[in-house]
Protein backbone atom coordinates (compact mmCIF):
# COMPACT_ATOMS: atom_id res chain seq x y z
CA UNK A 1 0.00 0.00 0.00
CA UNK A 2 2.81 2.40 0.90
CA UNK A 3 4.52 1.69 -2.42
CA UNK A 4 1.25 2.41 -4.21
CA UNK A 5 0.81 5.71 -2.36
CA UNK A 6 4.37 6.77 -3.15
CA UNK A 7 3.91 5.87 -6.81
CA UNK A 8 0.71 7.93 -6.98
CA UNK A 9 2.47 10.91 -5.38
CA UNK A 10 5.33 10.69 -7.87
CA UNK A 11 2.77 10.68 -10.71
CA UNK A 12 1.16 13.80 -9.31
CA UNK A 13 4.32 15.94 -9.27
CA UNK A 14 4.50 16.62 -13.04
CA UNK A 15 0.75 17.35 -12.98
CA UNK A 16 1.23 19.91 -10.22
CA UNK A 17 4.05 21.63 -12.11
CA UNK A 18 1.98 21.69 -15.32
CA UNK A 19 -1.01 23.08 -13.44
CA UNK A 20 1.24 25.84 -12.11
CA UNK A 21 2.47 26.47 -15.66
CA UNK A 22 -1.10 26.80 -16.96
CA UNK A 23 -1.95 29.24 -14.15
CA UNK A 24 1.19 31.22 -14.89
CA UNK A 25 0.48 31.33 -18.61
CA UNK A 26 -3.09 32.54 -18.02
CA UNK A 27 -1.75 36.01 -17.40
CA UNK A 28 0.45 35.89 -20.47
CA UNK A 29 -2.12 34.69 -23.00
CA UNK A 30 -3.84 38.04 -22.56
CA UNK A 31 -3.17 40.09 -25.64
CA UNK A 32 -0.67 42.82 -24.82
CA UNK A 33 1.36 43.40 -21.74
CA UNK A 34 0.04 42.17 -18.38
CA UNK A 35 1.03 45.62 -17.14
CA UNK A 36 -1.85 47.21 -19.05
CA UNK A 37 -4.15 46.01 -16.29
CA UNK A 38 -2.27 47.76 -13.49
CA UNK A 39 -1.07 50.82 -15.30
CA UNK A 40 -3.10 54.02 -15.07
CA UNK A 41 -4.32 55.10 -18.50
CA UNK A 42 -2.21 58.28 -18.53
CA UNK A 43 0.99 56.65 -17.25
CA UNK A 44 4.26 57.83 -18.73
CA UNK A 45 6.61 55.59 -20.67
CA UNK A 46 9.11 55.95 -17.82
CA UNK A 47 6.67 54.72 -15.17
CA UNK A 48 5.71 51.80 -17.38
CA UNK A 49 9.30 50.62 -17.73
CA UNK A 50 9.91 51.11 -13.99
CA UNK A 51 6.89 48.99 -13.16
CA UNK A 52 7.90 46.40 -15.74
CA UNK A 53 11.22 45.99 -13.94
CA UNK A 54 9.62 46.06 -10.50
CA UNK A 55 7.22 43.26 -11.46
CA UNK A 56 9.94 41.37 -13.32
CA UNK A 57 8.04 41.48 -16.63
CA UNK A 58 11.28 42.45 -18.42
CA UNK A 59 12.84 39.04 -17.88
CA UNK A 60 12.42 36.04 -20.16
CA UNK A 61 9.24 34.02 -19.54
CA UNK A 62 10.92 30.81 -18.29
CA UNK A 63 12.85 32.85 -15.70
CA UNK A 64 9.63 34.59 -14.65
CA UNK A 65 7.93 31.22 -14.30
CA UNK A 66 10.80 29.82 -12.25
CA UNK A 67 10.77 32.77 -9.88
CA UNK A 68 6.99 32.72 -9.58
CA UNK A 69 6.97 28.99 -8.89
CA UNK A 70 9.73 29.30 -6.30
CA UNK A 71 7.79 32.00 -4.48
CA UNK A 72 4.55 30.01 -4.76
CA UNK A 73 6.20 26.94 -3.24
CA UNK A 74 7.23 29.15 -0.33
CA UNK A 75 3.65 30.35 0.13
CA UNK A 76 4.08 33.73 -1.57
CA UNK A 77 1.50 34.24 -4.32
CA UNK A 78 2.13 37.98 -4.50
CA UNK A 79 -0.18 40.78 -3.46
CA UNK A 80 -3.64 41.63 -4.69
CA UNK A 81 -3.57 44.73 -6.86
CA UNK A 82 -6.99 45.87 -5.66
CA UNK A 83 -6.51 45.48 -1.89
CA UNK A 84 -2.74 45.20 -1.52
CA UNK A 85 -3.17 42.21 0.82
CA UNK A 86 -1.28 38.93 0.29
CA UNK A 87 -3.09 36.75 -2.23
CA UNK A 88 -2.65 33.55 -0.24
CA UNK A 89 -4.42 34.82 2.86
CA UNK A 90 -7.25 36.32 0.77
CA UNK A 91 -7.76 33.01 -1.02
CA UNK A 92 -7.54 30.89 2.09
CA UNK A 93 -10.15 32.97 3.90
CA UNK A 94 -12.53 32.66 0.97
CA UNK A 95 -11.88 28.94 0.45
CA UNK A 96 -13.12 28.28 3.99
CA UNK A 97 -16.57 29.56 3.04
CA UNK A 98 -16.56 27.53 -0.18
CA UNK A 99 -15.67 24.38 1.77
CA UNK A 100 -18.62 25.03 4.12
CA UNK A 101 -20.93 25.35 1.13
CA UNK A 102 -19.49 22.32 -0.66
CA UNK A 103 -19.76 20.07 2.39
CA UNK A 104 -23.36 21.06 3.02
CA UNK A 105 -24.19 20.51 -0.64
CA UNK A 106 -22.35 17.18 -0.64
CA UNK A 107 -24.37 15.95 2.34
CA UNK A 108 -27.63 16.76 0.55
CA UNK A 109 -26.57 15.68 -2.94
CA UNK A 110 -24.77 12.45 -2.02
CA UNK A 111 -27.50 11.26 0.35
CA UNK A 112 -30.23 11.82 -2.21
CA UNK A 113 -28.05 10.49 -5.03
CA UNK A 114 -27.26 7.25 -3.21
CA UNK A 115 -30.89 6.83 -2.23
CA UNK A 116 -32.32 7.45 -5.71
CA UNK A 117 -29.53 5.48 -7.37
CA UNK A 118 -30.05 2.37 -5.24
CA UNK A 119 -33.82 2.59 -5.69
CA UNK A 120 -33.52 2.94 -9.45
CA UNK A 121 -30.96 0.14 -9.66
CA UNK A 122 -33.05 -2.22 -7.61
CA UNK A 123 -36.32 -1.47 -9.35
CA UNK A 124 -34.92 -1.20 -12.85
CA UNK A 125 -37.44 -0.47 -15.63
CA UNK A 126 -40.28 0.12 -13.19
CA UNK A 127 -41.97 3.47 -12.51
CA UNK A 128 -39.65 3.95 -9.51
CA UNK A 129 -36.67 3.78 -11.86
CA UNK A 130 -38.33 6.20 -14.28
CA UNK A 131 -39.03 8.79 -11.58
CA UNK A 132 -35.53 8.53 -10.11
CA UNK A 133 -33.78 8.78 -13.48
CA UNK A 134 -35.97 11.73 -14.47
CA UNK A 135 -34.96 13.57 -11.29
CA UNK A 136 -31.34 12.71 -12.00
CA UNK A 137 -31.43 13.92 -15.57
CA UNK A 138 -33.15 17.14 -14.53
CA UNK A 139 -30.42 17.59 -11.92
CA UNK A 140 -27.58 17.33 -14.41
CA UNK A 141 -29.33 19.40 -17.08
CA UNK A 142 -30.55 22.35 -15.05
CA UNK A 143 -28.52 25.55 -15.32
CA UNK A 144 -27.77 25.70 -11.61
CA UNK A 145 -27.39 29.48 -11.49
CA UNK A 146 -30.92 29.73 -12.85
CA UNK A 147 -32.20 27.19 -10.33
CA UNK A 148 -30.65 29.41 -7.65
CA UNK A 149 -32.61 32.37 -8.99
CA UNK A 150 -35.84 30.36 -9.06
CA UNK A 151 -35.33 29.19 -5.48
CA UNK A 152 -34.69 32.81 -4.42
CA UNK A 153 -37.88 33.85 -6.20
CA UNK A 154 -39.91 31.19 -4.38
CA UNK A 155 -38.37 31.11 -0.91
CA UNK A 156 -37.09 34.66 -0.52
CA UNK A 157 -39.23 36.91 -2.70
CA UNK A 158 -42.61 35.19 -2.52
CA UNK A 159 -42.60 33.25 0.74
CA UNK A 160 -39.98 35.35 2.56
CA UNK A 161 -38.70 32.32 4.48
CA UNK A 162 -35.02 32.40 3.70
CA UNK A 163 -32.49 35.16 2.95
CA UNK A 164 -31.59 35.68 -0.72
CA UNK A 165 -27.93 36.68 -0.42
CA UNK A 166 -24.97 36.69 1.94
CA UNK A 167 -23.49 34.29 4.46
CA UNK A 168 -24.86 35.36 7.79
CA UNK A 169 -26.57 38.29 9.49
CA UNK A 170 -24.78 41.61 9.10
CA UNK A 171 -22.60 40.73 6.15
CA UNK A 172 -19.65 38.37 6.11
CA UNK A 173 -18.90 37.90 9.77
CA UNK A 174 -17.56 34.68 11.26
CA UNK A 175 -19.41 31.56 10.25
CA UNK A 176 -21.26 29.55 12.92
CA UNK A 177 -23.33 26.40 12.81
CA UNK A 178 -26.48 27.95 14.29
CA UNK A 179 -29.81 28.57 12.58
CA UNK A 180 -29.05 32.29 12.20
CA UNK A 181 -26.22 31.28 9.83
CA UNK A 182 -27.57 28.03 8.44
CA UNK A 183 -30.60 29.94 7.08
CA UNK A 184 -28.19 31.61 4.68
CA UNK A 185 -26.67 28.30 3.66
CA UNK A 186 -29.88 26.45 2.75
CA UNK A 187 -30.58 27.88 -0.71
CA UNK A 188 -26.99 27.93 -2.03
CA UNK A 189 -26.36 24.42 -0.69
CA UNK A 190 -29.53 22.99 -2.24
CA UNK A 191 -28.68 24.70 -5.53
CA UNK A 192 -25.13 23.34 -5.50
CA UNK A 193 -26.34 19.85 -4.64
CA UNK A 194 -28.44 19.18 -7.75
CA UNK A 195 -25.59 18.33 -10.13
CA UNK A 196 -23.82 15.88 -7.77
CA UNK A 197 -27.23 14.44 -6.88
CA UNK A 198 -27.91 13.71 -10.55
CA UNK A 199 -24.48 12.29 -11.26
CA UNK A 200 -24.36 10.11 -8.16
CA UNK A 201 -27.86 8.81 -8.92
CA UNK A 202 -26.88 7.83 -12.46
CA UNK A 203 -23.61 6.24 -11.36
CA UNK A 204 -25.11 4.26 -8.49
CA UNK A 205 -28.05 3.15 -10.64
CA UNK A 206 -25.72 1.78 -13.31
CA UNK A 207 -23.46 0.14 -10.71
CA UNK A 208 -26.33 -1.47 -8.83
CA UNK A 209 -27.94 -2.77 -11.99
CA UNK A 210 -24.61 -4.17 -13.13
CA UNK A 211 -23.82 -5.88 -9.85
CA UNK A 212 -27.31 -7.34 -9.45
CA UNK A 213 -27.05 -9.00 -12.85
CA UNK A 214 -23.78 -10.73 -11.99
CA UNK A 215 -23.54 -14.42 -11.24
CA UNK A 216 -22.28 -14.09 -7.70
CA UNK A 217 -25.48 -12.34 -6.63
CA UNK A 218 -27.43 -15.24 -8.07
CA UNK A 219 -25.16 -17.60 -6.13
CA UNK A 220 -25.67 -15.66 -2.91
CA UNK A 221 -29.44 -15.82 -3.32
CA UNK A 222 -29.29 -19.51 -4.24
CA UNK A 223 -27.25 -20.11 -1.12
CA UNK A 224 -30.27 -18.78 0.77
CA UNK A 225 -28.82 -15.48 1.90
CA UNK A 226 -31.35 -12.96 3.06
CA UNK A 227 -31.91 -9.94 0.80
CA UNK A 228 -30.39 -7.62 3.45
CA UNK A 229 -27.16 -9.59 3.23
CA UNK A 230 -27.20 -9.53 -0.54
CA UNK A 231 -27.63 -5.77 -0.24
CA UNK A 232 -24.45 -5.60 1.83
CA UNK A 233 -22.56 -7.28 -0.99
CA UNK A 234 -24.01 -4.86 -3.52
CA UNK A 235 -22.90 -1.89 -1.41
CA UNK A 236 -19.43 -3.33 -0.99
CA UNK A 237 -18.99 -3.82 -4.70
CA UNK A 238 -20.42 -0.45 -5.64
CA UNK A 239 -18.46 1.48 -3.03
CA UNK A 240 -15.08 2.03 -4.76
CA UNK A 241 -16.52 3.52 -7.94
CA UNK A 242 -19.25 5.43 -6.13
CA UNK A 243 -16.65 6.91 -3.79
CA UNK A 244 -14.42 7.96 -6.67
CA UNK A 245 -17.32 9.72 -8.34
CA UNK A 246 -18.32 11.46 -5.13
CA UNK A 247 -14.75 12.58 -4.50
CA UNK A 248 -14.58 14.10 -7.96
CA UNK A 249 -17.92 15.79 -7.46
CA UNK A 250 -16.70 17.34 -4.22
CA UNK A 251 -13.77 18.70 -6.20
CA UNK A 252 -16.06 20.13 -8.87
CA UNK A 253 -18.16 21.82 -6.20
CA UNK A 254 -15.09 23.43 -4.64
CA UNK A 255 -13.65 24.57 -7.94
CA UNK A 256 -16.81 25.38 -9.85
CA UNK A 257 -18.62 27.44 -7.25
CA UNK A 258 -18.23 30.78 -9.04
CA UNK A 259 -21.68 30.87 -10.63
CA UNK A 260 -23.61 29.93 -7.52
CA UNK A 261 -21.53 32.16 -5.27
CA UNK A 262 -22.23 35.01 -7.65
CA UNK A 263 -25.98 34.39 -7.54
CA UNK A 264 -26.05 34.23 -3.75
CA UNK A 265 -23.17 36.65 -3.02
CA UNK A 266 -21.64 33.84 -0.98
CA UNK A 267 -18.22 35.15 0.11
CA UNK A 268 -16.19 32.16 -1.09
CA UNK A 269 -13.42 31.52 -3.58
CA UNK A 270 -15.79 31.79 -6.54
CA UNK A 271 -16.92 35.28 -5.60
CA UNK A 272 -13.27 36.21 -5.08
CA UNK A 273 -12.44 34.89 -8.55
CA UNK A 274 -15.33 36.87 -9.98
CA UNK A 275 -14.07 40.13 -8.51
CA UNK A 276 -10.48 39.30 -9.52
CA UNK A 277 -11.63 38.88 -13.13
CA UNK A 278 -13.58 42.10 -13.30
CA UNK A 279 -11.01 44.22 -11.49
CA UNK A 280 -8.29 42.70 -13.72
CA UNK A 281 -6.52 41.76 -10.47
CA UNK A 282 -4.12 39.34 -12.16
CA UNK A 283 -2.11 38.08 -9.15
CA UNK A 284 -5.37 37.34 -7.34
CA UNK A 285 -6.81 35.62 -10.44
CA UNK A 286 -3.70 33.50 -10.85
CA UNK A 287 -3.45 32.66 -7.16
CA UNK A 288 -7.12 31.72 -6.72
CA UNK A 289 -7.08 29.43 -9.75
CA UNK A 290 -3.81 27.84 -8.63
CA UNK A 291 -5.08 27.13 -5.12
CA UNK A 292 -8.39 25.72 -6.38
CA UNK A 293 -6.72 23.53 -9.00
CA UNK A 294 -4.23 22.20 -6.46
CA UNK A 295 -7.12 21.42 -4.11
CA UNK A 296 -8.69 19.46 -6.96
CA UNK A 297 -5.47 17.56 -7.74
CA UNK A 298 -5.00 16.74 -4.06
CA UNK A 299 -8.59 15.52 -3.76
CA UNK A 300 -8.11 13.30 -6.81
CA UNK A 301 -5.01 11.83 -5.22
CA UNK A 302 -6.91 11.13 -2.01
CA UNK A 303 -9.70 9.47 -3.98
CA UNK A 304 -7.21 7.24 -5.79
CA UNK A 305 -5.59 6.19 -2.54
CA UNK A 306 -8.90 5.62 -0.76
CA UNK A 307 -10.14 3.59 -3.70
CA UNK A 308 -7.05 1.38 -3.61
CA UNK A 309 -7.42 0.98 0.14
CA UNK A 310 -10.92 -0.50 -0.12
CA UNK A 311 -10.44 -2.34 -3.41
CA UNK A 312 -7.16 -4.29 -3.55
CA UNK A 313 -7.66 -5.08 -7.26
CA UNK A 314 -6.81 -1.46 -8.15
CA UNK A 315 -3.35 -1.63 -6.58
CA UNK A 316 -2.32 -4.49 -8.78
CA UNK A 317 -3.23 -2.88 -12.10
Amino acid sequence: MLAYILRRIVYVIPIVVSVALVCFMLVHITPGDPLVAILPADASQELASQLRIAYGFDRPLPVQFGLWLWKAVNGDLGHSIATGRPVLSEVMRAVGNTVTLAIAAAMIGFTLGLFFGLLAGYFRDTWVDKVATSIAIAGVSVPHYWLGMVLVIIFSVQLNWLPAVGAGPGGSGAWGWDWEHIRYLVLPAVTTSVIPMGIVTRTVRALTGDILSQDFVEALRAKGLRETHVFRHVIKNAAPTAMAVMGLQLGYMLGGSILIETVFSWPGSGLLLNSAIFQRDLPLLQGTILVLALFFVFLNLMVDIAQAAIDPRIKRS
Binding site: I15, V140, P143, Y145, M149, Y252, L273, L292, A293, V297
Partner: protein, 300 residues
Protein backbone atom coordinates in the same frame (compact mmCIF):
# COMPACT_ATOMS: atom_id res chain seq x y z
CA UNK B 1 1.00 -2.19 -64.19
CA UNK B 2 -0.17 -5.67 -63.44
CA UNK B 3 -0.76 -4.95 -59.79
CA UNK B 4 -2.98 -1.92 -60.29
CA UNK B 5 -6.26 -3.76 -61.02
CA UNK B 6 -5.74 -6.00 -58.01
CA UNK B 7 -5.05 -3.09 -55.68
CA UNK B 8 -8.05 -1.23 -57.08
CA UNK B 9 -10.16 -4.29 -56.44
CA UNK B 10 -8.91 -4.69 -52.90
CA UNK B 11 -9.43 -0.96 -52.32
CA UNK B 12 -13.00 -1.28 -53.50
CA UNK B 13 -13.49 -4.30 -51.30
CA UNK B 14 -12.07 -2.41 -48.34
CA UNK B 15 -14.44 0.49 -48.97
CA UNK B 16 -17.49 -1.60 -49.62
CA UNK B 17 -17.29 -4.10 -46.82
CA UNK B 18 -17.50 -1.79 -43.80
CA UNK B 19 -19.73 0.84 -45.38
CA UNK B 20 -22.49 -1.59 -46.32
CA UNK B 21 -22.28 -3.05 -42.83
CA UNK B 22 -22.30 0.45 -41.34
CA UNK B 23 -25.45 1.37 -43.28
CA UNK B 24 -27.25 -1.60 -41.85
CA UNK B 25 -26.13 -0.74 -38.36
CA UNK B 26 -27.06 2.94 -38.56
CA UNK B 27 -30.42 2.10 -40.11
CA UNK B 28 -31.12 -0.17 -37.15
CA UNK B 29 -30.05 2.52 -34.71
CA UNK B 30 -32.25 5.04 -36.49
CA UNK B 31 -35.27 2.75 -36.35
CA UNK B 32 -34.73 2.08 -32.66
CA UNK B 33 -34.36 5.80 -31.98
CA UNK B 34 -37.62 6.59 -33.80
CA UNK B 35 -39.45 4.07 -31.60
CA UNK B 36 -38.23 5.84 -28.46
CA UNK B 37 -40.99 8.36 -27.61
CA UNK B 38 -38.79 10.46 -25.32
CA UNK B 39 -36.07 10.87 -27.96
CA UNK B 40 -38.57 11.78 -30.64
CA UNK B 41 -40.22 14.35 -28.36
CA UNK B 42 -36.84 15.87 -27.51
CA UNK B 43 -35.82 16.01 -31.14
CA UNK B 44 -39.08 17.76 -32.03
CA UNK B 45 -38.77 20.35 -29.26
CA UNK B 46 -35.16 21.04 -30.15
CA UNK B 47 -36.08 21.32 -33.82
CA UNK B 48 -38.80 23.83 -32.92
CA UNK B 49 -36.34 25.96 -30.91
CA UNK B 50 -33.72 25.79 -33.69
CA UNK B 51 -36.12 26.57 -36.50
CA UNK B 52 -37.80 29.46 -34.70
CA UNK B 53 -34.38 30.94 -33.90
CA UNK B 54 -33.37 30.53 -37.53
CA UNK B 55 -36.62 31.98 -38.87
CA UNK B 56 -36.96 34.69 -36.21
CA UNK B 57 -36.98 37.67 -38.64
CA UNK B 58 -39.91 36.19 -40.60
CA UNK B 59 -42.12 35.28 -37.63
CA UNK B 60 -43.64 38.77 -37.30
CA UNK B 61 -42.11 39.32 -33.89
CA UNK B 62 -41.52 42.67 -32.23
CA UNK B 63 -38.08 44.29 -32.57
CA UNK B 64 -35.91 42.59 -29.92
CA UNK B 65 -33.77 45.74 -29.51
CA UNK B 66 -36.60 48.27 -29.32
CA UNK B 67 -37.19 49.27 -25.71
CA UNK B 68 -39.75 51.53 -24.13
CA UNK B 69 -39.33 53.25 -20.79
CA UNK B 70 -43.05 53.26 -20.06
CA UNK B 71 -43.58 49.57 -20.77
CA UNK B 72 -40.86 48.05 -18.60
CA UNK B 73 -41.28 44.69 -16.84
CA UNK B 74 -44.83 43.92 -18.01
CA UNK B 75 -46.17 40.65 -16.66
CA UNK B 76 -46.60 37.47 -18.65
CA UNK B 77 -49.89 37.59 -20.54
CA UNK B 78 -50.08 41.37 -20.97
CA UNK B 79 -51.96 42.23 -24.17
CA UNK B 80 -49.45 42.63 -26.99
CA UNK B 81 -46.67 41.12 -24.88
CA UNK B 82 -47.48 37.42 -24.44
CA UNK B 83 -44.36 36.83 -22.33
CA UNK B 84 -44.11 40.31 -20.85
CA UNK B 85 -41.27 42.81 -21.28
CA UNK B 86 -37.76 43.03 -19.86
CA UNK B 87 -36.10 45.69 -17.71
CA UNK B 88 -35.80 48.03 -20.70
CA UNK B 89 -39.31 47.40 -21.98
CA UNK B 90 -38.27 45.06 -24.81
CA UNK B 91 -40.62 42.26 -25.86
CA UNK B 92 -39.59 39.06 -24.08
CA UNK B 93 -41.04 36.65 -26.64
CA UNK B 94 -39.01 38.26 -29.42
CA UNK B 95 -35.88 38.35 -27.30
CA UNK B 96 -36.20 34.70 -26.25
CA UNK B 97 -36.62 33.55 -29.84
CA UNK B 98 -33.91 35.83 -31.24
CA UNK B 99 -31.80 34.89 -28.21
CA UNK B 100 -31.71 31.33 -29.45
CA UNK B 101 -29.46 32.39 -32.31
CA UNK B 102 -26.46 33.46 -30.25
CA UNK B 103 -27.13 31.08 -27.36
CA UNK B 104 -27.24 28.02 -29.59
CA UNK B 105 -24.17 29.06 -31.58
CA UNK B 106 -22.11 29.79 -28.47
CA UNK B 107 -23.35 26.60 -26.84
CA UNK B 108 -22.96 24.18 -29.74
CA UNK B 109 -20.02 25.49 -31.76
CA UNK B 110 -17.43 24.67 -29.05
CA UNK B 111 -18.63 21.06 -28.99
CA UNK B 112 -18.43 20.78 -32.79
CA UNK B 113 -14.92 22.24 -32.80
CA UNK B 114 -13.83 20.04 -29.91
CA UNK B 115 -15.40 17.03 -31.66
CA UNK B 116 -13.21 17.62 -34.71
CA UNK B 117 -10.00 18.36 -32.82
CA UNK B 118 -10.50 15.82 -30.04
CA UNK B 119 -11.47 12.97 -32.35
CA UNK B 120 -8.39 13.56 -34.51
CA UNK B 121 -6.09 13.74 -31.51
CA UNK B 122 -7.63 10.69 -29.86
CA UNK B 123 -7.57 8.66 -33.07
CA UNK B 124 -3.90 9.46 -33.61
CA UNK B 125 -2.99 8.81 -29.98
CA UNK B 126 -4.93 5.55 -29.90
CA UNK B 127 -3.78 4.25 -33.26
CA UNK B 128 -0.14 5.32 -33.30
CA UNK B 129 0.46 4.66 -29.62
CA UNK B 130 3.94 4.89 -28.15
CA UNK B 131 5.54 8.25 -27.55
CA UNK B 132 2.88 10.18 -29.44
CA UNK B 133 0.18 8.64 -27.29
CA UNK B 134 2.11 9.57 -24.15
CA UNK B 135 2.66 13.13 -25.34
CA UNK B 136 -1.00 13.70 -26.23
CA UNK B 137 -2.52 11.92 -23.26
CA UNK B 138 -0.24 13.47 -20.63
CA UNK B 139 -1.11 16.92 -21.97
CA UNK B 140 -4.78 15.99 -21.73
CA UNK B 141 -4.22 14.91 -18.11
CA UNK B 142 -3.08 18.43 -17.21
CA UNK B 143 -6.43 19.86 -18.29
CA UNK B 144 -8.21 17.20 -16.28
CA UNK B 145 -6.51 18.68 -13.22
CA UNK B 146 -8.94 21.60 -13.43
CA UNK B 147 -12.68 21.41 -12.76
CA UNK B 148 -14.20 22.30 -16.15
CA UNK B 149 -16.17 25.31 -14.87
CA UNK B 150 -13.02 26.73 -13.31
CA UNK B 151 -10.97 26.18 -16.47
CA UNK B 152 -13.59 27.78 -18.71
CA UNK B 153 -13.89 30.80 -16.46
CA UNK B 154 -10.13 31.08 -15.96
CA UNK B 155 -9.45 31.14 -19.69
CA UNK B 156 -12.24 33.53 -20.60
CA UNK B 157 -11.39 35.64 -17.58
CA UNK B 158 -7.82 35.92 -18.81
CA UNK B 159 -8.78 36.46 -22.47
CA UNK B 160 -11.45 39.00 -21.59
CA UNK B 161 -15.18 39.14 -22.32
CA UNK B 162 -16.52 38.39 -25.77
CA UNK B 163 -18.28 35.76 -27.86
CA UNK B 164 -15.19 34.51 -29.67
CA UNK B 165 -13.21 34.24 -26.45
CA UNK B 166 -15.95 32.27 -24.74
CA UNK B 167 -16.15 29.87 -27.71
CA UNK B 168 -12.35 29.47 -27.61
CA UNK B 169 -12.30 28.82 -23.87
CA UNK B 170 -15.10 26.24 -24.01
CA UNK B 171 -13.41 24.48 -26.92
CA UNK B 172 -10.22 24.22 -24.88
CA UNK B 173 -12.25 22.76 -22.02
CA UNK B 174 -13.94 20.10 -24.18
CA UNK B 175 -11.05 18.97 -26.40
CA UNK B 176 -9.35 16.93 -23.62
CA UNK B 177 -12.64 15.20 -22.72
CA UNK B 178 -13.34 14.12 -26.30
CA UNK B 179 -9.70 13.19 -26.86
CA UNK B 180 -9.84 10.86 -23.87
CA UNK B 181 -12.99 9.11 -25.07
CA UNK B 182 -11.68 8.86 -28.63
CA UNK B 183 -8.36 7.47 -27.45
CA UNK B 184 -9.89 4.77 -25.28
CA UNK B 185 -12.39 3.70 -27.95
CA UNK B 186 -9.66 3.67 -30.62
CA UNK B 187 -7.34 1.59 -28.47
CA UNK B 188 -10.16 -0.88 -28.00
CA UNK B 189 -10.96 -1.11 -31.72
CA UNK B 190 -7.29 -1.18 -32.78
CA UNK B 191 -6.73 -4.53 -31.13
CA UNK B 192 -9.66 -6.19 -32.89
CA UNK B 193 -9.10 -8.90 -35.46
CA UNK B 194 -10.48 -7.08 -38.48
CA UNK B 195 -7.98 -4.25 -38.04
CA UNK B 196 -5.22 -6.82 -37.83
CA UNK B 197 -6.59 -8.39 -41.01
CA UNK B 198 -6.60 -5.05 -42.82
CA UNK B 199 -3.02 -4.44 -41.77
CA UNK B 200 -2.03 -7.93 -42.92
CA UNK B 201 -3.63 -7.28 -46.31
CA UNK B 202 -1.36 -4.29 -46.70
CA UNK B 203 -3.60 -1.32 -45.87
CA UNK B 204 -1.66 1.77 -44.77
CA UNK B 205 -2.31 3.52 -41.44
CA UNK B 206 -4.43 6.28 -42.99
CA UNK B 207 -6.62 3.83 -44.89
CA UNK B 208 -7.09 1.80 -41.73
CA UNK B 209 -7.92 4.86 -39.65
CA UNK B 210 -10.31 6.30 -42.21
CA UNK B 211 -12.01 3.13 -43.43
CA UNK B 212 -11.91 0.75 -40.50
CA UNK B 213 -11.54 2.77 -37.36
CA UNK B 214 -13.49 5.99 -37.91
CA UNK B 215 -16.84 4.27 -38.44
CA UNK B 216 -16.44 2.21 -35.31
CA UNK B 217 -15.08 5.02 -33.20
CA UNK B 218 -17.39 7.88 -34.18
CA UNK B 219 -20.56 6.42 -32.67
CA UNK B 220 -19.56 6.48 -28.99
CA UNK B 221 -17.82 9.85 -29.41
CA UNK B 222 -20.89 11.29 -31.10
CA UNK B 223 -23.12 10.14 -28.23
CA UNK B 224 -20.72 11.68 -25.73
CA UNK B 225 -20.55 14.94 -27.69
CA UNK B 226 -24.35 15.16 -27.83
CA UNK B 227 -24.46 14.94 -24.05
CA UNK B 228 -21.65 17.48 -23.89
CA UNK B 229 -23.82 20.05 -25.69
CA UNK B 230 -26.00 20.05 -22.59
CA UNK B 231 -23.00 21.00 -20.44
CA UNK B 232 -21.80 23.46 -23.05
CA UNK B 233 -25.15 25.27 -23.19
CA UNK B 234 -25.10 25.69 -19.40
CA UNK B 235 -21.48 26.85 -19.33
CA UNK B 236 -21.76 29.16 -22.35
CA UNK B 237 -24.83 30.87 -20.91
CA UNK B 238 -23.06 30.84 -17.54
CA UNK B 239 -20.13 32.79 -18.95
CA UNK B 240 -22.55 35.37 -20.34
CA UNK B 241 -24.39 35.36 -17.04
CA UNK B 242 -21.13 36.34 -15.34
CA UNK B 243 -20.53 39.03 -17.96
CA UNK B 244 -17.77 37.14 -19.78
CA UNK B 245 -19.67 36.28 -22.94
CA UNK B 246 -22.08 38.26 -25.07
CA UNK B 247 -22.28 42.00 -24.53
CA UNK B 248 -25.53 43.99 -24.25
CA UNK B 249 -27.83 44.74 -26.00
CA UNK B 250 -27.56 41.43 -27.89
CA UNK B 251 -30.34 39.03 -26.94
CA UNK B 252 -28.69 35.92 -25.43
CA UNK B 253 -30.23 33.75 -22.72
CA UNK B 254 -27.38 33.89 -20.21
CA UNK B 255 -26.96 37.62 -20.54
CA UNK B 256 -30.73 38.19 -20.34
CA UNK B 257 -30.79 36.18 -17.13
CA UNK B 258 -28.03 38.39 -15.76
CA UNK B 259 -29.65 41.72 -16.63
CA UNK B 260 -33.06 40.54 -15.38
CA UNK B 261 -31.65 39.41 -12.03
CA UNK B 262 -32.37 42.76 -10.45
CA UNK B 263 -36.00 42.46 -11.54
CA UNK B 264 -36.82 39.38 -9.48
CA UNK B 265 -38.50 41.52 -6.81
CA UNK B 266 -40.73 43.23 -9.34
CA UNK B 267 -41.54 40.62 -11.95
CA UNK B 268 -39.95 37.33 -10.93
CA UNK B 269 -41.37 34.95 -13.53
CA UNK B 270 -40.40 37.08 -16.50
CA UNK B 271 -36.87 37.18 -15.04
CA UNK B 272 -36.76 33.40 -14.90
CA UNK B 273 -37.79 32.80 -18.54
CA UNK B 274 -34.36 32.83 -20.24
CA UNK B 275 -33.12 30.15 -17.84
CA UNK B 276 -36.07 27.95 -18.75
CA UNK B 277 -34.92 28.10 -22.38
CA UNK B 278 -31.38 27.03 -21.41
CA UNK B 279 -32.86 24.23 -19.31
CA UNK B 280 -35.07 23.03 -22.17
CA UNK B 281 -32.20 22.83 -24.66
CA UNK B 282 -29.85 21.29 -22.13
CA UNK B 283 -32.25 18.56 -20.99
CA UNK B 284 -33.25 17.91 -24.60
CA UNK B 285 -29.69 17.11 -25.65
CA UNK B 286 -29.10 15.05 -22.51
CA UNK B 287 -32.16 12.87 -23.12
CA UNK B 288 -31.29 12.58 -26.80
CA UNK B 289 -27.79 11.43 -25.90
CA UNK B 290 -29.26 8.82 -23.54
CA UNK B 291 -31.68 7.67 -26.21
CA UNK B 292 -28.90 7.32 -28.78
CA UNK B 293 -26.74 5.41 -26.33
CA UNK B 294 -29.39 2.79 -25.72
CA UNK B 295 -30.38 2.70 -29.40
CA UNK B 296 -26.77 1.97 -30.32
CA UNK B 297 -26.44 -0.75 -27.73
CA UNK B 298 -27.82 -3.39 -30.09
CA UNK B 299 -27.01 -6.30 -27.80
CA UNK B 300 -29.81 -5.36 -25.42
Amino acid sequence: MSISPTSALSDAALQAAPSSKARGYWATVGRRLLRDKVSVACALILALIFLSALAAPWLGLADPYQGSMIRRLRHIGTAGYPLGTDELGRDMLARLIYGGRLSLIVGILPVILAFGIGTSLGLIAGYVGGKINTAIMRTVDVFYAFPSVLLAIAISGALGAGIVNSIVSLTIVFVPQITRIAESVTTGVRNMDFVEAARASGAGPFTIMRVHMLGNVLGPIFVYATGLISVSMILAAGLSFLGLGTKPPEPEWGLMLNTLRTAIYINPWVAALPGAMIFAVSIGFNLLSDGMRSAMDIRN
